[in-house]
């Protein structure tokens, strides 16, 4: 019978950062992963002469010294930063609409000043309101950084927020569009500014301004990066660091049960093995729905844990097509790293259309070669095309129609990309792989193949989640890290959530509180 200070279930981004944070503090930590690689969605895979990035488009909140973003600070603090070869993303995004009356085709740069300049070109007269908006955004970033760096949560923190972050408080309860309108941003500029919305999976009438603005501001002010060896390099780097710090990892170890005693989570059972691993605390990188729905015996569940879990709504279910092409980006006519292709810039309409397989024409498309030169052999290109489904529409697909449905969506993505950009990619496809919600479900056991955690419902946005950090805990001894947490979805958010939860637990311990 082994006794661990902490067990982390799942070596996804949140699990890796939580485990490494524990190990760095000298905690005896066991990290359990069902797969044979770390990272969860943060991984890569090979087909023929290509190695595909499985999920990351770009990692934000990174920046350079000084003005380092909080995600980079976590990488630095945990000793992971230097283990990764980083590449910078060249430009922010190109948004193209297929059916919008404005016929958008706009390419936006990184850098707040450059972004405002470009916006002025596309939307003359937008400069004053955009300038005002970004001044507000800078304050949101300060508050965001403040949130990103807090290691625990208590009453003093609330007082700090009230005193030092008054602009934040004024805008905190409003949606992105409410604030954009209040600032006087013209409609066309709002449309262009909102292009990143699909990175957060909720329309900008609903998305919290703090959340959306915080993300855009971080992208624009500090740029974005990715790892040369794909996100698998980041995951391997975390794992190596964790082991250097004395941590133990078991792969091929699927936790099928959280062991409870007197209402507390005290250990875990690994499928197919005899002994139970006991620990002072358990951090689960799998979703709370999995922990409450199948890992804990229903008779051990407090009523409130069930209610709180059932209250949440899943966010986007993932779909990605990966292409290895036998022509260079120039030959194909692919000029940008990140394309946002929509029917319309109306985010409410667009998001609604993503509830069916047929209706969904939104895609975020990346060309890896434009961020990582040489990522594929000379004269070839790696591209990946991602969309989200806002409802569980894939559950209606029958097994015998599954392959054909994959192909249907893939064909639509290729056609829409060619139509939007004029690039010719179809004839150059040398490798194709398609990940559907079922693939995501299989890979990480994510409910319904969700890749975006819990949706940012009007009542469940980032602000109240962060403010309620401690009170979201469901079971004594059990904590959560990853995209279902306080920081919501995204690579940076997941790393941050793991780092924060481990620190929060240790802070409680220091104070002599029961964890």
């Amino acid at each position: 019978m082994s006794k661990w200070d902490a067990i982390v279930i799942g070596a996804g981004n949140g699990g890796l950062s939580a485990a490494t944070t524990f190990a760095q503090a000298g905690k005896k930590t066991l990290l359990l992963e069902k797969h044979n690689v770390p990272g969860g969605f943060a991984t890569s895979f090979r087909r023929g002469r290509f190695e595909f990035e499985a999920s990351l488009h770009e990692l934000c909140s990174f920046g350079s010294v000084p003005g380092m973003g909080n995600v980079r600070r976590i990488f630095e603090e945990l000793g992971v930063y230097d283990k990764v070869e980083w590449c910078r993303i060249p430009d922010a995004y190109r948004m193209i609409t297929l059916k919008d009356p404005e016929n958008y085709d706009v390419t936006m740069p990184f850098g707040v000043a450059a972004f405002i300049d470009k916006m002025e070109q596309y939307v003359p007269g937008s400069r004053p309101s955009m300038t005002k908006l970004f001044a507000l955004g800078e304050k949101m970033r300060d508050t965001g950084e403040f949130f990103g760096n807090i290691k625990g949560f208590d009453g003093k923190l609330v007082m700090d927020i009230l005193q030092d972050h008054t602009d934040f408080i004024r805008v905190a309860s409003y949606s992105s569009n409410e604030i954009l309108k209040a600032v006087g941003v013209p409609k066309k500029a709002r449309d262009i500014f909102n292009a990143y919305w699909c990175y957060l999976g909720e329309d900008t009438d609903t998305l919290s301004f703090v959340h959306y603005m915080g993300m855009v501001e971080r992208y624009l002010s500090t740029g974005a990066v990715c790892a040369k060896g794909r996100s698998h390099e980041m995951s391997c780097a975390f794992q190596e660091r964790f082991e250097e710090l004395g941590g133990t990892v078991y792969f091929n170890s699927f936790v099928d049960r959280i062991v409870m005693k007197n209402g507390r989570a005290i250990g875990v059972h690994i499928a197919g093995r005899d002994e139970i691993e006991f620990a002072d605390c358990i951090v689960c990188n799998s979703s709370p729905h999995n922990a409450i729905g199948k890992m804990i015996d229903p008779k051990d569940l407090p009523e409130m844990a069930v209610r709180k879990t059932n209250a949440r709504k899943f966010a986007g279910r993932g779909f990605t097509m990966f292409l290895g092409l036998d022509k260079s980006p120039e030959e194909l006519g692919v000029t940008n790293h990140c394309y946002m292709i929509y029917d319309t810039a109306d985010t409410v309409y667009q998001r609604k259309s993503m509830n069916t397989i047929e209706g969904n024409n939104a895609q975020a498309t990346c060309c890896l070669n434009l961020a990582v030169p040489g990522c594929s052999p000379e004269g070839t290109t790696i591209m990946y095309f991602t969309t989200l489904y806002t409802e569980d529409c894939w559950s209606k697909v029958k097994e015998e129609d599954y392959v054909k449905t994959k192909e249907y969506v893939a064909n639509k993505m290729i056609d829409n990309f060619e139509k939007a950009t004029g690039a010719k990619i179809r004839d150059a496809i040398e490798e194709i792989e398609i990940a559907t919600p079922a693939t995501y479900a299989r890979y990480t056991d994510a409910p319904q193949g969700t890749i975006y955690g819990y949706n940012s419902e009007p009542w469940d946005g980032i602000v109240p989640r962060i403010l309620m950090t401690g009170s979201d805990d469901l079971i004594p001894g059990l904590y959560f890290a990853g995209g279902y947490g306080t920081q919501l979805l995204g690579f940076g958010s997941a790393y941050t959530s793991g780092y924060q939860v481990a620190n929060r637990i240790m802070k409680k311990q220091e104070k002599g509180e029961r964890i």
Binding site: F45, R46, G48, E51, A135, L136, I169, R170, V171, A172, S173, Y174, E178, I179, A227, G229, H232, E233, C236, A237, Q239, T248, Y250, N252, S253, H289, G293, M304, V306, R307, K308, T309, N310, A311, R317, D326, D392, S395, V397, E399, E400, Y402, E407, R426, I429, E430, I432, P437, A438, A441, R442, P447, Q448, G449, W459, P464, L467, M468, S471, D472
Partner: protein, 396 residues
């Protein structure tokens, strides 16, 4: 921004709205429905059906083609359980306990995806000279025996978005099986492609599944050409599968799919090169890793025939076994009866990915399917890696 504070609605309303956020969320959470949180979801069940991990199967029938070639009809041991669906061209990895060894072998599925829906797979086993597993299966496995297999895997499949409308299949020996599956799924309408199959054998007696292929060849979309190397017979092509022969039967644009024994890859590989077609139109299914590593180009000959100590770490435990420089690390693990993850056995799939803690190894470049970061952080695929010193690996 001006010094004036930013106000959205009014100073007071903004503050009230802010103050409402926590109680509102608290109320939403606490009023969540009191019903069981689902343990699973339809999409997750589809994922499990597609990739069940281990499957417990049993041999329901054996078709004897010859003493050295038999087909095994496999059904789910629990007849209520559905078999994992697959795509024509994929393989099934069978796990067997032979003596003290725990071995795995991949076999392309000869039956069609629709057959799997009806409840069975067919795998065909051909005797490999000195083969440890093929001989065991052919001489020992009986109807009713239980077989453990892993979910179907593999990328040797027809992709309409990527491939030409016509597949020129080049098959030799037991390499015919994925094409039998493909032809079957073209015939039953599940796959929309044309197939020109060039099937090489020594004599007409060596053509396994000839009757089935003759029948499938009646379909407009399927052409079967038998190519005999050692005998001249009427109605058969004589010789090897050359560039000229491919051109004789292929339309203007086509994808080549090749599956066969090592000698065929070497010969046909050179012939295909002569055709000068784009890489995207050429697919090889690699199964056979060299039985003796010293035959692989680049093998350090001063290490030929040496024995080393292999320390294996798994789930916090450690075991010491011996390994040979001429055999892959996976073979050493299997011989010692250690359950090591493995599927394709040709370096490609990554299921056996393991950490090389210390020691030197030889990784042949043509079967090095590792990811960039795995090479950087010291990982190996034991199925295609050979020990060159005492080594320590972590296989969990």
């Amino acid at each position: 921004m001006s010094k004036r504070k930013f106000v959205v609605k009014s100073g007071m309303i903004d503050l009230i709205n802010f103050a409402k956020m926590i109680p509102e969320r608290k109320a939403h959470l606490e009023n969540g429905p009191l019903r069981r949180v689902p343990a699973t979801y339809p999409i997750n069940e589809l994922a499990k059906l597609n990739h069940p991990g281990k499957m417990e199967l049993c041999v329901s029938d054996i078709i004897v083609h010859s003493e050295d070639v038999k087909s095994y009809i496999l059904k789910a041991e629990n007849s209520n359980k559905k078999l994992a669906p697959f795509r024509a061209g994929q393989y099934l990895t069978v796990q067997l306990k032979i003596g003290n060894s725990l071995v795995t072998r991949p076999y392309s599925i000869a039956s069609t995806p629709n057959d799997a829906r009806k409840g069975f797979y067919n795998i065909t086993v051909k005797r490999v000279p000195d083969g440890f597993v093929s001989g065991y299966i052919l001489d020992n496995i009986k109807i009713g025996d239980k077989i453990t297999a892993f979910s179907p895997e593999g990328t040797f499949v027809y992709e309409p978005i990527r491939d030409a409308k016509t597949v020129v299949g080049i098959a030799g020996g037991s390499g015919i099986t994925p094409f039998l599956s493909l032809a079957g799924s073209i015939a039953d309408g599940t796959c929309d492609a044309d197939l020109v199959l060039l099937y090489g054998a020594r004599t007409s007696k060596d053509l396994v599944f000839k009757a089935e292929l003759d029948e499938l060849g009646k379909n407009d979309k399927i052409t079967v050409v038998y190519v005999l190397s050692d005998s001249k017979e009427k109605g058969y092509e004589k010789g090897f599968i050359t560039a000229e022969l491919i051109q004789k039967y292929a339309p203007e644009t086509y994808s080549i799919f090749l599956c066969g024994p090592k000698a065929m890859y070497e010969f046909a590989g050179k012939e295909i090169e002569k055709l000068n077609i784009r890489k995207k139109f050429v697919r090889f299914e690699l199964f056979t890793s060299a039985s003796k590593a010293s035959q692989i180009p680049g093998f350090p000959m001063d290490k030929d025939g040496l024995t080393f100590e292999l320390t294996v770490r798994q789930f916090g435990k450690e075991k010491k076994i011996t390994c040979l420089s001429n055999e892959s690390i996976l073979v050493a693990l299997e011989r010692a009866g250690i359950e090591a993850p493995a599927r394709c056995r040709s370096g490609e799939c990554g299921f056996c990915r393991s950490k090389l803690v210390s020691g030197d190894v030889f990784v042949p470049s043509n079967t090095d399917g590792r990811r960039i970061a795995d090479i950087k952080f010291g990982y190996i695929h034991p199925c295609s890696t050979y020990p060159m010193s005492d080594i320590v690996i972590k296989i969990d």
